[in-house]
């Protein structure tokens, strides 16, 4: 291997391991408190989700329904 190439590679590796990633800007985005509008929108979403969860019909598989008379009952093993 060429000595020049080896030194090049060594230098690149040396700096690559040190170069910060990512660079942090000293002026970071300010974390804002939520506006009234976004707060109201969030409340509405939560309320609708809760209402839907409370009122949606519970799914019962027909095969387990007592009224339908179609349930498959396992036959007990007899000697």
């Amino acid at each position: 291997m060429n000595d020049d190439d080896a030194l090049d590679r060594r230098l690149r590796e040396y700096y690559r391991e040190r170069l910060p990633r990512p660079f942090r800007s000293p002026l970071r985005p300010v974390r804002r408190t939520p506006s009234r509008l976004s707060l109201a929108a969030s409340m509405l979403i939560v309320t609708v989700a809760a209402w839907y969860a409370a009122t949606r019909p519970i799914h019962r598989p027909e095969s387990l329904s007592l009224e339908s008379g179609t349930a498959t009952v396992p036959v007990p093993f007899r000697r």
């Binding site: 030194l7 230098l11 700096y15 690559r16 391991e17 170069l19 910060p20 660079f23 800007s25 000293p26």
Partner: protein, 167 residues
């Protein structure tokens, strides 16, 4: 105000790594150099807030980063008595035996680099950390491409000599 912020973000994206490279050439600690680069940009922002007109923000930033790094290197020397080698970077990603060999080679290179002048280190950082080509380095350092090539070649020779004479 929004324009200023946009201009600041643009400058930061374009030149933060350069500020780090010139700081690292004088204060060979990656995290400290990162802090110094940030501080240089913060000072630019504060200068703008004070209504200062800065005609060449890039050159201004790099000059501030160089000065801050020199001051910080002096105070670090006063605090620690020496500049702690920055050898632990990247070691966690390697197998243990490999990491030991790498740390030794890395420490040797780190130590050799500290024997060069700050100008040599700056040149090497621009070339090898930022992968800048010769015309770009020449523009940044306000010199000619031929001068950059000559200085780079001499800096590499000096580095190779120091590395070659180490046990």
């Amino acid at each position: 105000m929004a324009d200023r912020r946009a201009e600041f973000d643009r400058l930061f994206l374009a030149h933060a790594r350069e500020a780090w490279a010139v700081a690292y050439a004088r204060r060979p600690d990656a995290d400290a150099a990162h802090d110094i680069a940030q501080e240089a940009f913060l000072r630019l922002w504060m200068a703008w807030q004070d209504g200062e007109t800065i005609r060449q923000p890039r050159a201004w930033l790099l000059r501030v980063a160089r000065n801050l790094a020199e001051d910080d290197a002096k105070s670090a020397f006063r605090r620690n008595g020496t500049r702690p080698p920055d050898q632990l970077a990247g070691l966690a990603d390697r197998p243990v035996a490999d990491a030991v060999v790498h740390a030794e080679r890395d420490a040797a290179l780190h130590s050799a680099l500290q024997q060069l002048s700050a100008e040599d280190r700056e040149l090497l950082a621009l070339r090898y950390a930022l992968d800048y080509d010769t015309p770009n380095i020449a523009a940044l350092l306000d010199t000619t491409p031929a001068a950059v090539l000559m200085r780079l070649s001499r800096a590499r020779q000096r580095l190779a000599t120091i590395l070659g004479t180490e046990p």
